[in-house]
């Protein structure tokens, strides 16, 4: 077991280092520091100003270790990212770490309720659809799912803001307030939109899982013993389907922290998604690469956690 954990950990570290290298290639060589400076200062900035900007933001050193072993951007990039010293924003010189810490709370306040409400809504519906498999209810359900999946998230957002926010005036169109009394009113609309846009894919996924489980031998045995269909669904199918469902939830946890780019930007929630969109709009490369790194790191950690828990639970995984 120890060897398995070590091997898996080593692989996770390797992937994180690989991500950092890709980021370096994308943000330091494909877009050279000169391009970044010119995007910040304007196309017609004099070369002196560009050099000055590069010196101020620490971009004025050689890129690769073979150019200068002691002082190069590649090693600097690795040491800074791995010690979580993200430095200053390229756009307005604000510390990136402060921003991330401030954005984590609003992001979580949207994504955590969204995850749980999604489970609460999608699982009963998909159980129902799987219960009526091969009937008109099943076919209608699947068709509605495909229908719901075919609408662009942009249209869901614009439609909900227009219909619920502007015409019906149930909830504010956008905005955010950390006050726990006001917060639910502001979060209502993005949560509704998030549920609508995710429900189609979720129900289809869970339906497939349930159908796979209900084709198993133990379900047939239970039916032969005389167990009712409802009891089979709740005791034999749902219980066994909890493993893939749980895997999906665990894999979704890292993304709770990074928030939802579209929802946060449209509904004015100052979370990590909004920070990312602002960084894209402002050509803020240092913030953008930090966000990509954090997202990847969380994903790697999530995968590691899932794999290790499998290793603990299922002895077959260890000896592979």
């Amino acid at each position: 077991m120890g060897a398995y954990v070590l091997r898996r950990l080593g692989y996770g570290v390797g992937v994180a280092l690989g991500v950092l290298f890709l980021l370096f290639v994308l943000f330091f060589t494909v877009t050279a520091p000169d391009d970044i400076a010119r995007k910040a200062l304007g196309e017609k900035a004099p070369q002196v100003a560009v050099e000055q900007w590069k010196a101020n933001h620490g971009y004025d050193r050689p890129l690769w270790p073979w150019q200068d072993w002691d002082d190069n951007l590649l090693f600097d990039h690795y040491t800074k990212m791995l010690t979580f010293d993200f430095g200053l924003s390229d756009a307005d010189d604000a510390p990136i770490m402060d921003r991330i810490q401030a954005g984590m709370g609003p992001s979580l306040s949207l994504t955590v309720p969204l995850l749980f409400l999604g489970l609460i809504v999608a699982i009963p519906i998909s159980l129902l659809v799987a219960f009526f498999r091969e009937t008109y209810i099943d076919r209608m359900g699947v068709f509605i799912c495909v229908l719901a999946m075919s609408v662009s998230t942009l249209l869901y957002i614009i439609g909900a803001q227009f219909l619920i926010g502007k015409i019906l005036r149930w909830y504010p169109i956008s905005g955010f307030d950390a006050d726990p009394l006001l917060l639910p009113r502001f979060l209502a609309l993005p949560i509704i939109v998030g549920l609508m846009s995710g429900i189609g894919g979720d129900v289809r996924f869970y339906r497939t899982v349930f159908l796979e489980e209900s084709a198993r031998d133990f379900v047939r045995t239970a039916r032969a013993k005389g167990a009712g269909e409802a009891r089979i669904m709740s005791h034999h199918v749902l219980r066994n389907a909890l493993i893939p469902i749980l895997t999906r939830v665990v894999l979704a946890i890292p993304f709770l922290f990074t928030g939802s780019i579209l929802l946060e930007a449209f509904f004015g929630i100052p979370g990590l998604g909004s920070i990312t969109v602002d960084a894209i709009r402002a050509n803020d490369f240092s913030t953008l690469r930090t966000m990509v790194f954090i997202g990847s790191l969380l994903f790697v950690l999530g995968q590691l956690a899932t794999d290790l828990s499998y290793g603990f639970v299922d002895p077959r995984v260890r000896f592979e």
């Binding site: 890709l22 994308l26 998230t153 942009l154 249209l155 990312t276 050509n283 953008l288 990509v292 994903f299």
Partner: protein, 343 residues
Amino acid sequence: MMGLAPHMLSNLVVLALLVGLLGLSRWVRRRRIWLESAQAIWQRRRLAIVVIAAYLSIALLDSVAWVGGVPEGVADVLPNQSLSVLDRLFLDTREASYSAPFADFEWTGGEALRHPGSHVLGTDILGRDVLYLALKGARVALLIGGLTSLISIPLALLFGVTAGYFGGRFDDFVFFLISTLASMPGLLLLIALIMALGKGTFSVCLALGVTGWVGFCRLSRAETLKLRELDYVEAARALGVSEVRIIFRHVLPNLAHLIVITFVLTFSALVLSEAVLSWLGIGVDGSWGQMIDGARNELSRDPIIWWNIGAAGAALFGLILAVNSVGDAIRDVLDPRTARTSE
């Protein structure tokens, strides 16, 4: 393109596409499994296939273009410009106004229109016919889905099949590359690539292709690992058949159903993600995503301007729904796994 005008290139692509489709249909007709699958899919989703064919023909009409042959008044405005069949259909009704569907007078100012009721879906804020713009988006959408698949599927097959078949160090490297790319947040990697590559149709497709090949690469690698161990592959190897021939004759044909399923299912995802990119300001010119984004704020006017966003949204929704439902049917028919569970 070395002295070749862009519209001539697009005409050649149309020709190549038509020849390719003809060849494909002949090929399918000669193989019984594929013929039966195609018939089963056609029987399940007739309407959706007709809808996709309609979108495709609109896109083809918009791709066949030539210079000249326009009426007098228009030739002064657009001298020596190539116009597609679709452009020519909408030449007469061009009118610089802002009007609602079937309107008799201008929305702003209230002046009478020269051609009352000619704009079936109204015009946008720049006076362009909305129906024309919505139809023109079909070409862009199919281009995004098609070109990106042409980049990502061969890339995924190249790496996935060779890694799975030969194994060893190369397989380790490919697997590491896949896990690294898969761990980066998709949309962010996409944005980073487009910011690095610059804007434009080709670089957007390239970025979408580079981020999108990972999933299929993993799938084809896993599938090749299984196929490699099969008896007939071993028999071929024992008979001294070359590795390249084994891959092309025994491995790739067994991946064909996966290629078709992946192509159709990622197509809709690609078109939808282009809409998001348009909203971020890094989309493709003339796409439905750009129309939706441009008309977003028009909804807050009074009276409400709904026809713009409605037309683009409906066109996008129609294509995606048709492709998704055909994709479902294709997966049901071709994928042995779903065929087994639905028994």
